[in-house]
């Protein structure tokens, strides 16, 4: 696209999550720690910048933060109450 949108969605971090946790989480039901909404990760709002911030599309609470650098990745899931993965 011609625009430089900073706001994306959970599809955009599918490859990164696969790399970090070894599973495709785009269809994983993610429960917001703030409001309790259930959504597939692909439906969450993703903001990219120096790091990645994933927000609930309902209450905008931060659900996931990812920072990478110096050969390490830092994955903060403290805003996510649970993730439900298909086996």
């Amino acid at each position: 696209m011609e625009t430089r949108d900073l706001k994306l969605d959970g599809n955009a971090i599918g490859g990164l999550m696969l790399e970090l946790v070894g599973s495709d989480l785009t269809a994983a039901i993610s429960v917001c720690g703030g409001c309790g909404a259930h959504e597939e990760m692909a439906r969450l709002d993703v903001y990219t910048g120096a790091g990645i911030v994933v927000r609930c599309r309902h209450c905008e609470a931060v659900m996931i933060r990812i920072v990478q650098g110096r050969g390490r990745s830092w994955l903060d899931l403290s805003g996510t109450a649970s993730l439900q993965l298909d086996q």
Binding site: M1, D5, L8, A12
Partner: protein
């Protein structure tokens, strides 16, 4: 998941800014319509750049990506202007279990594309033809000009099959003489004219910029669609 070496097997110029690259990747496990992959380029000095691209081909067909050049991009200018048959790059995937269309449900599918957002929806359209689905599928494509319409000839052919696949074009910037299609950005009124009735509980796939996707989703909800029917994929800088 590991990176696979892929060789460019064929190149097809779709529009002045858009090219399709067919890739031969040994070990590629196959994909579902709508999925994407990560692509990585490595420069001679070791510098690496990585982007995500939607897969354009139907499942079972040779792996193909369709890439639009972003003039200030790091990867797309190479892929669109310089890459040639025999060049090698790396891919990882397929990725995505949400924005996928497997053709196993009977209800109508409404696909809405902004610009190069048509790519994953083309994989679904090709899959619809490939599996000889009779389920109604309508693809709405918003492009700037007729020359910017990606896959125009093939879309005409798919429509002519008469198997329930239809295309609706809107040209937002410039229209050729005698143009009878839409001439504006998608809006609630346009959507209410092209959308299947809400009573049919259609499956919806929208792909484009954030602004485009939000306008389409909001317009459909205004038309009575349930948010849960609408699957979206936003393009942005990480897709350059």
């Amino acid at each position: 998941m590991t990176w696979l070496t892929a060789e460019i097997a064929a190149v097809n110029q779709e529009t002045p800014r858009v090219r399709t690259l067919e890739l031969a990747a040994r070990g590629w496990p196959g994909h579902r319509a709508g999925q994407h992959l990560d692509l990585r380029l490595t420069a001679e000095d070791g510098y690496q750049a990585q982007r995500s691209y939607s897969i354009a081909s139907a499942p079972g067909e040779p792996l193909a990506l369709t890439v639009e050049r972003l003039d200030d991009g790091e990867v797309s200018p190479y892929l669109v202007d310089e890459a040639r048959e025999g060049d090698r790059l790396e891919v990882r995937g397929p990725i995505g279990g949400y924005f996928v269309w497997d053709g196993d449900e009977p209800q109508p599918s409404l696909l809405i594309a902004g610009g190069s957002g048509v790519v994953p929806l083309m994989a679904m359209s090709r899959h619809h033809a490939q599996i000889e689905s009779r389920a109604p599928m309508r693809l709405v494509v918003s492009s700037r000009t007729l020359a910017d319409v990606i896959y125009r000839e093939e879309l005409n052919r798919l429509t002519a099959k008469g198997d329930g696949f239809e295309v609706v074009h809107t040209l937002t910037r410039e229209q050729p003489p005698g143009w009878t299609g839409y001439t504006r950005r998608i809006d609630p009124e346009l959507l209410s004219e092209v959308a299947f009735p809400a009573a049919e509980a259609p499956r919806v796939y929208v792909c484009g910029s954030t602004r485009f996707v939000d306008a389409a989703a909001d317009g459909l909800i205004e038309a009575g669609y349930e948010p849960g029917w609408i699957r979206t994929e936003r393009f942005g800088a990480t897709g350059s």
